[in-house]
């Protein structure tokens, strides 16, 4: 029952996302051809013939009835055909996404995970040692979270990369020395290039996790089972981890799945600042170029990843919190 309900929910969410995905680009004014023309124009006059030729090329034909378009859209999705990107014509959208996705997944995904874990640990300790110096750091981490991300990132790039030269200016790896492959050289280069973006993500997002965990810890510490555990004479470490933290972490873990959605969104800004070759960058590009197919494909991939991640955490959650096994959602 609970599993079925859950799956039904995700199906509804997926359907809503698919429909939104279909509808929104169609409401956008203008078309990809005109955007492309804007770029061509800077190289010479653009004749009506050029426009005509490009219209033909990109198949921007709007005479098909909308319901037919919707059905076609669903059908091509079902067959894994996301269409052809105008920006990267004639490359299929799937290829564009495939080459961008790993960067975002690895950098943003991993960093988010690391941030989460560190935040949890610090939050646990701060909550446990309520009132000590660790705890008094909490407000300052929250202040960091109030600084606009891109502003922080740009200031850091300016100070650490441009001025001090400690970090690279941007990009995914040193393209002059290595290329994507499973080699030490490439991986270390990618790591080096990811350091500053990762750092900024950690700095700007860790505060929320710390605070949430800290507050949950404080609440949990007054729960009867924690007092019982202390009364049982268990070691403080055992009480802190098994009794307090394991329970206190539950809402944060649930929140982590939701936060994945913001992660992808946040990557748009991050990748912009750091010239990072991920899907955030591709997404912005698609929007600016009215590249419907690419936009739709990316939105779809983002949505499905987020839904998938949620489902995964949801299922995992059942192992972490035995109550949900019976309770159902």
């Amino acid at each position: 029952m609970s599993i079925l309900r859950k799956l039904a929910f995700y199906l509804v969410a997926l359907f809503a996302a698919l429909t939104l995905n279909f509808a929104i680009p169609r409401m956008l004014p203008s078309n990809p051809v005109d955007v492309l023309l804007g770029k061509l124009q800077a190289q010479g006059p653009v004749t009506p013939e050029t426009r005509q030729a490009l219209m033909l090329l990109f198949g921007t034909d709007t005479s098909v009835p909308i319901w037919q378009q919707y059905l076609d859209y669903l059908q091509s999705l079902a067959t894994g055909n996301l269409g052809v990107s105008v920006t990267y014509f004639p490359t299929p959208v799937t290829e564009v996404i495939a080459s961008a996705l790993p960067w975002t997944l690895v950098l943003v995904g991993l960093t988010t995970l690391i941030t989460f874990v560190i935040g949890m640990v610090i939050g646990t300790i701060a909550g446990w040692k309520r009132g000590t110096w660790v705890d008094s750091l909490i407000p300052s981490t929250t202040i960091l979270a109030s600084v606009p991300y891109f502003w922080l990132a740009m200031v850091l790039v300016y100070l650490l990369s441009v001025t001090a030269g400690i970090f690279p200016l941007g990009g995914g790896y040193d393209v002059r020395r290595t290329s994507p492959e499973l080699s030490f050289e490439f991986l270390s280069s990618a790591l080096y290039y990811a350091a500053l973006p990762a750092l900024t993500i950690v700095i700007s997002s860790i505060g929320g996790w710390i605070l949430g965990m800290r507050n949950m810890m404080v609440s949990t510490l007054s729960e009867d089972y924690v007092i019982t555990a202390r009364a049982k004479g268990l070691s403080p470490k055992r009480v802190m981890i098994t009794y307090a933290a394991r329970n206190a972490a539950l809402p944060s873990i649930a929140g982590f799945a939701i936060s994945l959605g913001f992660v992808v969104g946040g990557s748009v800004v991050m990748e912009q600042v750091f010239s990072y070759p991920g899907i955030g960058n591709a997404f912005l590009l698609a929007v600016q170029n009215n590249d419907y197919a690419l936009m739709q494909g990316l939105f779809l991939v983002i949505t499905i990843s987020v839904l998938g991640a949620n489902l995964l955490v949801d299922l995992l959650y059942q192992f972490i919190d035995p109550r949900t096994r019976a309770r159902g959602v």
Binding site: A13, L152, F299
Partner: protein, 320 residues
Amino acid sequence: MAELITESIAVRADAADEEPDDSQRRRGRSAFWRRLLTPKFVVGAVVVLLIVLFGLIGPLITQDPNAIDNIGLSSPSGAHPLGTTSVGQDVLAQLAHSTRGSLTVGVLVAAFTLGLSAFFGIIGAYIGGITDEGFSLLSNVMLVIPGLPLVIVIASYVESQSVLLVIVVLALTGWAAGARVLRAQTLSLRNREYVLASRVAGERTWRVICVEILPNLLPVMSSGFVFGIVGAVLAEAGLSFIGIGATGSLTWGTMLADAQNGQALLFGAWWWFAPPGLLIAALGAALSLINFSIDEVINPKLRTTNIAKVERRTKREHQS
């Protein structure tokens, strides 16, 4: 899953439930504001007040923020206390108007968001049945659909990127989490005795909601409102940065975007680039302080103040 996220916020409210009876409940309400007056709250409130005053009065006493002067990108001076932009506009004047703009965005988005959350959260939970199912499905779906990409797509579509558009888009995509929290709270409240009593006594639904339920949700809602402001200001700044914000209006976000487009960092024009960012941070920090205080009033356990002192005292007395 979606409902789990709200638990962390709900915890606070659980603590608020420790009000044994009606009389205490009423006392609690008035005590809420009294207990709020902690040093943290005062500092936060003063900073917020200063920023608000700057936004209110600043535009009246500074120069025309759009006025062009032939000294582009000049550093702070007597005539321009915060220097000028690349076309010689007075940064201080722009900052004052931007403060007004950003605060407007923040407050309106937070208000609209709260309104939507309250509508979908409270009404749904109170009425129950199909309505609740529907509302709660809607908010869960909204919660799992990635927001920013959606915002980008919508914002890039609507004609003329006005402040109003940004406000509407942010509110439309931001209400779901709040609705879940309020729903959870309302569910627990609607079965309280005083609420049941009102219902049995035949009070009209809206009256029960307004008189019996809303006041008890006030702490949670005020905290949500405060967070909403920070979130909206940050979101607006982010949208402006990637070029789809409230262009044409003055907000901290558009100022930062202008500074970025004008390569302020390249020219070392810190006076153009730094103040809007710092003001956002200051507002965020101040509102966070206020929120800490609200949290601590709702849930005294969360208090950090004085505990260290108490602990030292404990130790001392122990040893004696």
